[in-house]
Symmetry: C2
Subunit: 181 residues, 2 copies
């Protein structure tokens, strides 16, 4: 079956600090017309930093859309002018004070492909040194160390809802098992 | 560190067919003010349906935000008046023609907790019978069977970007290994 959708028109709905919402009109594969509500997002990065005892550093943040504190691996939005990996190193340092080495890609995540263009780049690394947290203005989070084994158990027992964190934890465990990190 | 953010004001930006965008003003833990751009979403469901040869049924769809065809497990938006599990059974039947049994929860996914309220409910099941696809008007997708082992390999080799699919594949493999499905 032919699947391609052609853009006929694009209407800007909202240009925010992070989100850029458009309402597009498309031509479907059968020639009919439909609307597409799209969130254009700059993309993100997430880092699983494994220390010598195989603990991962997590962050706990209030996530406003859910009105709850969510446990996640260190992550952030991509900033223009630097690569996903450079952004990952910066976010890890800012949020946890950790400097990593032996970075390895864990691929990309499309968080919800029906409506958002966000791509989250995942990395794992080893921890080189521990410095001070350097949070951005208006950023509030607590760091928590959890062993990789415990984190895998938490993911499999449905105790960690965040998508990038579930994926990075399970992939890091697979890499460690195969001796790749 | 105190993490809670208090809503001071909420402004409706866009009320779409799927997305409901608001721009809220919040009070941060240090008393300062900030803005939150939020996508309110009805939630979703995703089903990993395993046949007797341990193949999973995937769907390939054109995903407009990425302008590409994306490989995913059968999934859809939650409809009001029915439970996530009922929605999952309906979506599986509509998109693949499959009827499942022995449904088991694989937990929930927060796809991108910084800006969307979407919760995706994940299930695994066994396949009972194969009927006809019953696609919604304007829905175009191709079904593809892939063995669970091959799918796990594809996830670990970063060939499946969709978040819910990566998570459901890896969790289904863990359940099968522990004899729970």
């Amino acid at each position: 079956m032919e699947l391609f959708e052609k853009t006929l028109d694009s209407k800007k709905i909202f240009d925010g600090r992070v989100l850029h919402i458009v309402l597009d009109e498309v031509e479907l594969p059968d020639g009919k017309r439909s609307k597409r509500e799209v969130v254009n997002h700059p993309g993100g990065v997430c880092v699983a930093a494994l220390d010598e005892d195989n603990n991962l550093s997590f962050v706990k943040q209030f996530r406003y859309p859910y009105k709850e504190v969510v446990l996640e691996l260190p992550a952030g939005k991509l900033e223009k002018g630097s690569t996903p990996l450079e952004n990952g190193k910066r976010e890890l340092l800012e949020e946890t004070g950790l400097e990593g080495y032996s970075y390895i890609s864990l691929g990309q995540v499309y968080p919800s492909p029906g409506y958002t263009s966000e791509i989250i780049h995942l990395y794992a690394c080893r921890v080189k040194s521990q410095g001070e947290q350097r949070l951005d203005e208006g950023e509030f989070l607590n760091v928590e160390k959890i062993s990789l084994n415990k984190a895998v158990e938490m993911v499999l027992n449905n105790m960690i809802p965040d998508s990038k964190t579930q994926i990075a934890v399970l992939k890091t465990a697979a890499l460690l098992k195969s001796g790749k990190i």
